[in-house]
Amino acid sequence: MSLYQVQKLLYNLNRDEQCKEQYTNDKMTLLRSYDLTDDEREALSQGDIGLLYVMGVNGQILMHYAAFLGIEWFDYLELMRKGITEHGPVRAGVYAMTGGGRSFTKEREIS
C-alpha cells in the first residue's frame, strides 16, 4: 500500500496545470514517477473512483479528481457506493461511508 503516493499524485494533478496536461497526454510517464503498486497504477490509469475511494484517498482530493475527469455529481457519489459494494469498506483515512449507502440528497434529473 502506498496510499500516500496515490494521494500525492492526485494532489499535484488537482492543483497543477502542467500535471493535468501530462495526465492527459502522457499518463504512463506521470504514473511512473510515483512509487505505486500495480493496483494503484491501474486504478489511477482507469480513473477508478470507487477503488480509489475504498483505498482511502482523502475525499476532497478524490472529489476534485472526479470533477477533473468530468464525472457528474450523482454519478460520482454512486461510483463511491459501487466501490464499497465491490471492494468492501474504506480501508484508511477519515472519509468512510457511515450512512449504509443511502442517499442524503434528493436526486433530480437535470435538463
Binding site: 494532489y11 482523502n58 475525499g59 442524503f104
Partner: protein, 274 residues
C-alpha cells in the same frame, strides 16, 4: 481597534457549482440574500482588507509538510484550483495585502508558531465565500489556513489562541480589517453520505458561539466530532478562531440544513467585535 468586522460564512462547492440542482430554490435564495447582506456589511465596515480563516482542501498543503496554521502574505493569490465549469467560478487573480499580512504574521508569531506562504492557491473553501462577499475580487485578501483535513489536528484550544493572536495583530495595525471564518459545522462532504447534516449538533454549536461559551466550544473531542459531525466537523476550528478574534457574541443571521445538495448546513453570521 482596527478589526472592523468579524463573521462566519459556510463554504461548499455545491453552493455555486450545484445551485441549479437545488429543489428548494426559496431556501437557496434566502441563503444568497443573507450572503449579500454580509457582503454589504463588510463593505459598510470600510474594511481595507479581508482575512479569510479557511480550512483548505489540498490547494497548497499536503502531508509532505502540513502546517497547522499558515498565513498567506503574497502579493496575489489565484483560484479556483477546481474545474471552473464544475465550481461555476472562473479562474481569477485575487489581490493580496503583503505588507499588512507580513506585519500580522510577525505579530501572530509572538504567541503562535505559524507558517507563512508567499504563494497561495485558493480552492472552493475560499473561492465560494469570495464569490459572494467580494464578487469583483477587488478587496485585498489575507488567507489564513487551519489544517482541518485530518489528524494529527491542531487542538481547539490552539485554534482559539490563534484567533486571539490574529486579533492582537489586527489591533496593532492602523488598517481597517474584516475577518471571516469559513468552514462547515457538521457534514460528511466528499463521501457517499454527502448531504448528511446533524442539524441539532449544528444548532448547539451555534448556540455556544452565541452564548460565548468558550469552555463549551473547546470541549469537543475530535473523536466525538468525527462521530457526531463527520470529518467535515473538524472545520469548526475556523469558527472557533473567528470567535476568539471577535471577542464578542455571535449573531446568527441565517442557518439552514435544508439544502442537502450543498452538502453542508449553511450559516451566515456576524460577531460583535469586543
Amino acid at each position: 481597534m482596527t478589526l472592523v468586522y468579524a463573521g462566519l460564512t459556510s463554504h461548499a462547492p455545491g453552493m455555486t457549482g450545484r445551485a441549479h440542482m437545488v429543489e428548494n430554490t426559496n431556501e437557496r435564495d434566502l441563503l444568497y440574500a443573507a450572503l449579500d447582506q454580509q457582503r454589504q456589511e463588510i463593505q459598510d465596515s470600510g474594511a481595507e482588507a479581508l482575512i479569510v480563516v479557511a480550512a483548505e482542501h489540498f490547494a497548497n498543503f499536503f502531508m509532505d509538510n502540513m502546517p497547522a496554521y499558515c498565513i498567506g502574505i503574497g502579493e496575489y493569490h489565484v483560484g479556483p484550483i477546481e474545474d471552473p465549469a464544475w465550481l461555476k467560478i472562473e479562474k481569477t487573480t485575487i489581490p493580496g495585502a503583503p505588507a499588512l499580512a507580513g506585519a500580522i504574521a510577525q505579530e501572530v508569531l509572538q504567541s503562535v508558531d505559524i507558517a507563512y506562504a508567499e504563494e497561495w492557491k485558493c480552492d472552493h473553501g475560499i473561492m465560494v465565500p469570495l464569490h459572494f462577499l467580494t464578487p469583483k475580487y477587488d478587496l485585498p485578501i489575507i488567507p489564513m489556513n487551519i489544517n482541518c483535513q485530518g489528524p494529527p489536528l491542531t487542538p481547539l484550544s490552539r485554534a482559539w489562541a490563534f484567533g486571539e493572536a490574529v486579533r492582537r495583530a489586527c489591533d496593532a495595525s492602523s488598517s481597517k480589517i474584516a475577518l471571516i471564518g469559513t468552514g462547515g459545522i457538521s457534514h460528511w462532504p466528499a463521501t457517499p453520505d454527502s448531504g448528511k447534516i446533524n442539524e441539532a449538533w449544528d444548532r448547539e454549536f451555534l448556540d455556544r458561539l452565541t452564548r460565548q461559551d468558550k469552555a463549551a466550544l473547546l470541549s469537543y473531542t475530535d473523536s466525538e466530532t468525527y462521530q457526531d459531525a463527520g470529518q467535515g466537523g473538524f472545520e469548526i476550528r475556523t469558527h472557533i478562531a473567528a470567535a476568539a478574534a471577535a471577542g464578542g457574541p455571535c449573531h446568527v443571521q441565517f442557518y439552514t440544513a435544508n439544502l442537502p445538495i450543498f452538502a453542508v448546513g449553511c450559516t451566515v453570521a456576524r460577531f460583535s467585535v469586543h
